[in-house]
């Protein structure tokens, strides 16, 4: 858990974000439109300079949240404000300008780089696009210099700028992706599982790079991962997602030392710890069943069918995300009505 607690200025403000994907109709004639309710009412704020970790299992809506924030998907509902400016209603042209301040790093370092472009071209592409639209001013020479600077900063030799992605290893490719995200000097970087595809020894290198860059440039991250230990290491605050909602959100240390939501407790107890002594003595909460499909809206708490502390009302009413302790919000009836 990094020490920087972030400033007081809210950089990103997400309210009641909803992303429902239409998946066709039920029945043959004029049936009801069916949806996947991938994200269904998510609220969070990110302060300038902090890292919000987003953790959860596959299909819980982590990536969809990041993409809806970036307006790569236009959200079904809710609001996304970057530095106070609403993004969901912007027209395409204005959106491009707004996105300059918000870049992404993706999970798969193979699929997210164009195999037919050199690493130098990949890193300078954002600068070229924005120059062409007249949103930034870069001369050809400026751009070349900046590419070299960025490459050296992320730990790549500038002599590699004419090489193609296939000539790099996974970790090096991820560095190219990070350099590209930094090119326009954004304040916010949305990192969608950027270390999940990497080996342990490389993962540590990249995590440290993210932290160093944050210190150096005052960056703000929305950092997605499914590995709880990675999230704890990188984040100032953590949001735990389950089936399209945020189940719990709090400061990173608080969440790990005192998880409130039964799902967070189960998730933490299921995560293996690389220490045989601890592993032998730990009591695990082993959940039964699988995460349900988000293909219909359910009444009640989305976790109720796997929860070992469920009460009667959990099946019929949906708990709101409310503060249970200062700075620690949880969506569970155990803590409030």
């Amino acid at each position: 858990m990094p020490n920087n607690s972030g400033g007081n200025e809210t950089l990103l403000d997400v309210k009641d974000l909803k992303m429902h994907f239409p998946i066709g109709r039920k029945g043959l004639i004029a049936g009801e439109q069916q949806y996947i309710y991938a994200v269904d009412g998510v609220d969070f704020k990110i302060r300038k300079g902090e890292t919000l970790g987003l953790v959860g299992e596959s299909g819980c809506g982590k990536s969809t949240t990041a993409r809806a924030v970036a307006q790569l998907y236009r959200p079904t509902g809710g609001s996304v404000k970057l530095k106070g400016a609403e993004l969901t209603t912007l027209k395409a042209r204005d959106l491009i300008a707004a996105r300059k301040n918000m870049q992404m790093v993706f999970q798969d370092p193979y699929a997210s780089l164009n195999p037919r472009m050199t690493s130098g071209d990949i890193i300078s592409e954002p600068m070229r696009i924005y120059s062409r639209k007249g949103l930034v001013q870069f001369s050809r020479k400026d751009m070349e210099e900046r590419v070299e600077q960025l490459m050296e900063r992320v730990g790549l030799s500038r002599f590699f700028r004419n090489r193609y992605p296939h000539e790099f290893s996974g970790g090096q490719r991820q560095r190219i992706g990070i350099a590209r995200a930094l090119a326009l000097q954004p304040e916010l970087i949305l990192c969608d599982e950027p270390v999940s595809a990497l080996d342990v020894s490389i993962q540590a290198q990249i995590l440290n790079l993210f932290r160093d860059l944050q210190d150096e440039f005052g960056l703000t991250y929305l950092f997605i991962a499914h590995d709880l230990a990675v999230i704890e290491y990188i984040s100032t605050r953590v949001a735990v997602m389950y089936l399209g909602i945020i189940a719990e959100i709090s400061g990173s240390g608080d969440l790990y030392s005192k998880p409130l939501h039964p799902y967070t407790q189960a998730l933490l107890s299921a995560a293996p710890i690389p220490d045989p002594k601890i592993e032998k003595e730990r009591k695990r909460i082993i959940l039964t069943g699988d995460v349900p499909s988000p293909d219909r809206l359910r009444p009640g708490c989305p976790f109720h069918d796997r929860c070992w502390k469920k009460m009667d009302k959990c099946q019929s009413q949906k708990p709101a995300l409310k503060e249970a302790e200062p700075g620690h919000e949880v969506a569970c009836f155990l803590y409030h009505d």
């Binding site: 993962q203 290198q205 995590l207 290491y233 299921a270 710890i273 220490d275 601890i278």
Partner: protein, 327 residues
């Protein structure tokens, strides 16, 4: 766990012939597996974990692969020397495997019952009816609810975790001596991973089956294994009892690996240790220690010769010049 050695791998070498040169995916791997033992093989991608285990049951695609040397002694026979017909009687029967991806290891066109009954009838003296009953019993043990109904469904009707349970049920249905689990939980979420590991642990303890667990996760081996082998660039660089290996790792790579995993129980603002550089390309690797370019303790000798394995007692062995006397 008993002292009886059920599988002895000695100097195993598996090479792949490619256009760029010879890839020595596994280069001189030796270990013993005792009855009832759970042995973990950890290492990063490309370190040769999976190739080692495919070589044990002689399933290396050839060409381009070739087992260039070594022995795999299973209950007194060298599996690399016996005819394929005899090997088939062992695969899936005495030695069975579960793979990482439970979707691609089940046939999507066939019902679960067809696939399970096929295995059981092939290896055991049972008719189809009895085999199906046996299959239902196994599915129940693996924690599948309503197995008598689920068994007639197709793989796509099962979730990832459920498919992995089917694979486990199938792999254990012939009471194998050895279960090889190749990244059995890497494709699964943490809560499902905990369920699956629990089942593997419980079922193999009941039957006394030995397990070889291949994984890249140090957390998983810490909780599951009696002994751990750490692989790097096609070799086992360190092997030892789990407790000792985590408490007092000897090889600089093992030390670095343990330190570079962020830990939930030791939260601090401290910077994570990271091993510098990249894993080596195993094409035409010279006879040096493959870890020396990334090693903080590298000496001149490390660049010239690969160190022999040094036995430190108590089943702990390491291949590093820091511990081996130069001859």
């Amino acid at each position: 766990m008993t002292e009886e050695v059920i599988l002895r791998v000695k100097g195993l070498q598996t090479y792949f012939h490619t256009d760029e040169g010879i890839v020595k995916a596994v280069d001189g791997v030796s270990f013993d597996l005792r009855r009832g033992e759970t042995l973990g093989i950890v290492g990063e991608s490309g370190s040769g974990k999976s190739v080692t285990n495919l070589s044990i049951i002689n399933m290396i695609p050839s060409p381009p692969g070739r087992i260039a040397g070594g022995e795999v002694e299973f209950m007194g026979t060298d599996l690399l020397k016996i005819p394929v017909k005899d090997l088939r009687a062992i695969r899936g029967n005495k030695i069975s495997m579960i793979f990482q991806d439970p979707m691609t290891s089940l046939n999507p066109y066939l019902r679960i019952s067809t696939q399970m009954v096929e295995t059981i009838v092939l290896h055991q003296d049972l008719d189809k009816k009895a085999a199906k009953d046996k299959a239902i019993d196994m599915l129940k043990l693996a924690g599948i609810p309503a197995p008598e109904k689920r068994i007639d469904q197709y793989p796509h009707q099962f979730s990832g975790g459920m498919r992995q349970r089917v694979m486990i049920a199938m792999a254990l249905s012939c009471n194998p001596e050895i279960l090889i689990a190749d990244e059995p939980t890497s494709a699964l979420d943490v809560t499902i991973q905990a369920q699956i590991l629990d089942i593997i642990r419980g079922l193999t303890a009941q039957t006394g089956t030995s397990v070889i667990l291949i994984t890249h996760s140090l957390g998983v081996v810490a909780g599951m294994c009696d002994t751990i082998c750490v692989m790097y660039a096609g070799r086992i660089v360190e092997r030892g009892p789990t407790g000792e290996l985590f408490e007092a790792p000897k090889h600089p790579y093992t030390q670095g690996l343990i330190k570079s995993v962020p830990r939930l129980d030791k939260a601090s603002g401290e910077r994570l240790f990271s091993i510098r550089g990249q894993p080596p390309n195993v094409i035409d690797l010279p006879d040096c220690c493959p870890f020396y370019p990334r090693c903080d303790k590298a000496m001149d000798l490390c660049k010239r010769k690969y160190p022999a394995s040094k036995d430190l007692g108590n089943g702990h062995a390491v291949s590093c010049w820091l511990y081996t006397e130069a001859k």
